[in-house]
């Protein structure tokens, strides 16, 4: 890989440049460092950065051009030489500038600031990358498949030989159903736990129980997925679904929803905990002073005051549930059906993204490209929920500040 070799060479050159710049600064000052505007190390750093920045720029441009197909892959060697040339030029230029009055520190600080600014733009670049890659392939998809069929058809049956029906509605139904059950589990438990921890628990109980509950948030989702597949699914089937005649499948909406609910408990409880703690003590004191019991205070004063924040927390939890993948892949099943029976296997948007994009992909067939349309749908839904939730939470925080 010539590019990485020239990168290595540029790094060595930069390290050498640091020492050259520093020693030249020493000699320029004639042994009295106080004659210099900047300390010798800054002169060295200036030379090193003057080597690295042009080389990195050339390398980045070359990589990008190669990706985009502007220059052939074989041109990498040439690009590496150009990068090395740029590095040497930067070295020569920076070394000649070392003199007592040169403001090396300001120069270095400006460059470091630029680098940091660039780093903070990477977050924006990621978002743009996500949106572009989703939109680009989705447009491709809708050139091959009717947009109306995608959004309004209730049938999902991809076929390799073509003529697939790719309606999003069954997937959307499964996603929402699983998320609804998950929230039905997580919201009451999480909220009650948060209320108990913030209003009743003593400091010792709190210092034990809070971290234990939050361990649930640190467990990877694949672990929950396996738990659903191996333990919860068969348990629900053998004890509830089969005796009541509701279904025979271990993977079901109920399995996935229940396990996902457990996963979301700490999410709901720590968010609501913050929000309940932000309610001013004076409101509680007022209610207690009027003779209400602590539970009456919570129900009629604290909760109504915290309600907007709690709604925000629930929306965030919902967005988590909708985007969750591994639990539903292992727990919910793969059959795209619309049914109200929670013990039936259904499927979600994320499951189908995984199943359409794993294995051999043919990026010209609608069966593969539909995954990008599904991804865009998912992205838009979760983004909408997040924006609304973050707005509500922020608004609520300002209320008491």
């Amino acid at each position: 890989m010539p590019l990485s070799w020239s990168l290595l060479a540029a790094m060595i050159l930069a390290a050498a440049g640091f020492f050259v710049g520093r020693s030249r600064a020493y000699s320029a000052s004639g042994g009295d460092v106080r004659q210099l505007h900047s300390r010798p190390a800054y002169h060295g750093a200036n030379v090193a950065l003057a080597v690295m920045l042009p080389a990195l720029t050339v390398l980045a441009l070359a990589t990008f051009a190669r990706m985009a197909g502007v220059i052939p892959v074989e041109a990498a060697g040439v690009a590496g030489l150009v990068a090395l040339g740029a590095a040497v030029a930067g070295l020569g230029w920076a070394v000649t500038r070392v003199e007592t009055s040169f403001r090396a520190r300001s120069m270095v600080e400006r460059m470091v600031l630029g680098i940091m600014m660039f780093c903070s733009l990477i977050a924006i670049a990621t978002t743009i990358g996500i949106v572009l890659s989703l939109v680009f392939e989705t447009v491709n998809f809708f050139e091959k498949y009717s947009i109306r069929q995608f959004f309004f058809s209730t049938e999902w049956s991809p076929r390799f030989e073509g003529n697939s029906r790719l309606g999003v509605l069954p997937l959307l139904w499964g996603t929402l159903y699983v998320s609804f059950i998950a929230l039905l589990v997580a919201v009451p438990i999480g909220l009650l736990a948060a209320i108990y921890l913030s209003e009743y628990a003593g400091p010792r109980f709190r210092s034990v129980a809070k971290p234990v509950v939050e361990v649930l948030a640190g467990i990877p989702t694949i672990v929950y997925g396996l738990f659903a597949l191996v333990t919860v699914g068969p348990l629900l089937r053998d004890w509830i679904a089969q005796p009541t005649g509701l279904g025979n499948s271990a993977s079901s909406v109920m399995t996935a929803g229940l396990v996902m609910g457990i996963m979301l408990i700490p999410f709901v409880s720590s968010l609501s905990d913050d929000i309940i703690n932000a309610v001013p003590q004076s409101l509680r004191d007022g209610a207690l002073g009027l003779g209400s019991t602590p539970s009456e205070t919570v129900r009629s004063v604290v909760l109504p005051a915290a309600l907007p924040g709690i709604v925000g927390a629930i929306l965030l939890a919902a967005s988590r549930a909708i985007g969750e993948t591994m639990i539903v892949v292992l727990g919910a099943g793969a059959a795209a059906t619309i049914s109200a029976n929670p013990f039936e296997a259904m499927t979600t948007i994320t499951v189908k993204i995984v199943s359409q994009l794993t294995g051999d992909n043919d990026f010209s067939s609608p069966e593969t490209l539909v995954a990008f349309a599904l991804g865009l749908t998912l992205f838009v839904i979760t983004l909408g929920l997040n924006v609304v939730a973050l707005y509500i939470v922020r608004k609520y925080r300002e209320q008491y500040e």
Partner: protein
């Protein structure tokens, strides 16, 4: 809070003045106190449910997975017949490598038959093939590796330890029973009886399974030989990529946003963007990785470098949010003092603020890495589910070799039909959880040790 008055504590209509004594509670007080008790009980129950769910989850994983760390081995003397294994008779490893695994299977079968015949066991209904079926399909390959490593063994009779078939192993672990063996075409009850007899003779031993941690994945037919070695290495490579990319970029971005950025539209957009990015579903990052790094850039599928890049983009928001919180918690007086003695803004940040924020940054970074280590969904889309038998080379070239990752290996094993893979998957999860536990303990330790209250 004017809207509070619209929701007053409900007055109970049956309320009447207290009958006199404070010691005697009236019905209304009793009811309110009961409601109070109930409410407390609800809260406690909720916490209890969460704790029980955690306990249930952990115990089932440990119950299912602990078997992966124990494995049954067969140790028998094997006569390594020179005529079969080294037809040229010159002990040249290069020529011996042309001898197929099949021949080693013959040697092994013969040794096994002799060992069983020597014991003179009486097992009714035992058929010819049953004895050979005891050992794993991987056993002959194991023997071949052993001989090729040390050609001098040929012609001698050596004691070898080979893996036992997964069903037999499952019998000793309680997964396979006589009843299930009747219905199973891969194992017969007679074989189980034979295995039991061999165990009593000391030929079959169940012991700690070190190979689980070092082996590569194995095919569908031989769960007993599957291990998490490649997956652990792949995860390690990805963590290295994340460490070298996400940490510098994340810290630099947070320093800029927290200490230097002017308050304007653009920085506002960046901030909203970062908090939204933290909540984007992980699978969307997988789509990004597939579209950009594999289809556009042309990086190879299932390479740790692609996984590392995707996980870097995913952990950046976590690291940025944690670092900014750490920087924010350094009091302004530190900055004022440094600026007051003539330091530049940059010197203030790098010489004073950053070192003081370091513990917080480290903690956030470790938590971000732990999150990345357990992430599965995006890796599925960039081809990490592929069946990988070869260990990747050392970095940096190894970053471009195909590899697996721990959580993906778990997913992979759940998709296999043999129930023995469930044990393997749970075992891999135990390995994963041990790593996560260590990382989190390290984070807690660092926080406790260096935490400062200003």
């Amino acid at each position: 809070m004017t809207d509070l008055s619209s929701n007053p504590v409900k007055a109970v209509p049956s309320a009447r003045p207290n009958s006199g004594s404070l010691y005697q509670r009236d019905t209304r007080t009793r009811r309110r106190n009961a409601a109070e008790k109930r409410f407390r009980a609800y809260g406690l129950t909720a916490i209890l449910i969460a704790v029980l769910a955690l306990a249930f989850l952990v115990t089932t994983i440990i119950r299912d997975g602990s078997g992966a760390f124990r494995q049954t081995y067969l140790s028998i003397p094997v006569a390594l017949d020179a005529e079969i294994l080294d037809p040229q008779g010159n002990r040249d490893p290069a020529q011996m490598a042309s001898v197929l695994t099949l021949s080693y299977g013959q040697v092994l079968d013969r040794a096994l038959d002799r060992a069983v015949a020597d014991l003179n066991l009486q097992i009714p209904g035992l058929q010819d093939g049953d004895v050979d079926g005891l050992v794993s399909r991987d056993a002959s390959a194991q023997l071949r590796r052993m001989v090729l490593d040390n050609p001098e063994l040929v012609g001698q009779t050596v004691d070898v330890n080979v893996l036992v078939n997964g069903r037999i192993d499952g019998y000793f672990k309680g997964r396979v029973t006589m009843q299930s063996a009747e219905r199973d075409s891969n194992v017969s009850p007679q074989q189980l009886l034979l295995a039991e007899a061999l165990r009593d003779e000391g030929l079959l031993v169940t012991r700690f399974n070190r190979e689980f941690l070092t082996n590569a994945d194995a095919s569908d037919q031989r769960p007993e030989a599957a291990g998490v070695g490649v997956a652990m290495l792949g995860s390690l490579y990805m963590m290295l990529v994340v460490l070298f990319l996400a940490v510098p970029i994340g810290v630099a971005a947070s320093i800029y946003l927290e200490e230097f950025a002017p308050k304007n539209r653009i920085t506002d957009i960046i901030e909203v963007n970062i908090s939204n990015l933290a909540a984007v579903p992980s699978i969307v990052f997988g789509i990004l990785g597939l579209a950009v790094f594999i289809n556009f850039v042309g990086l190879p599928q299932s390479a740790p470098i692609v996984g590392g890049l995707v996980l870097t983009l995913m952990t950046l928001p976590t690291i940025i949010i944690a670092t900014r919180a750490a920087l924010k918690s350094v009091p302004p007086s530190i900055r004022d003092a440094a600026l007051g003695v003539g330091a530049s803004k940059m010197q203030t940040v790098f010489h004073h603020v950053l070192p003081l924020a370091m513990p917080g940054i480290l903690t956030g970074t470790i938590i971000g890495l732990a999150q990345a280590l357990g992430e599965t969904a995006p890796l599925l889309l960039i081809g990490m589910v592929a069946f990988v038998r070869e260990f990747p080379a050392a970095p940096p070239e190894g970053l471009f070799d195909p590899a697996s990752a721990l959580p993906v290996q778990v997913y992979n094993w759940t998709q296999r039909s043999d129930p023995a893979f469930v044990e393997r998957a749970s075992g891999a999860i135990i390995v994963l959880l041990v790593f996560l536990l260590c990382m989190n303990l390290l984070a807690i330790y660092l926080r406790r040790k260096f935490e400062r209250r200003w």
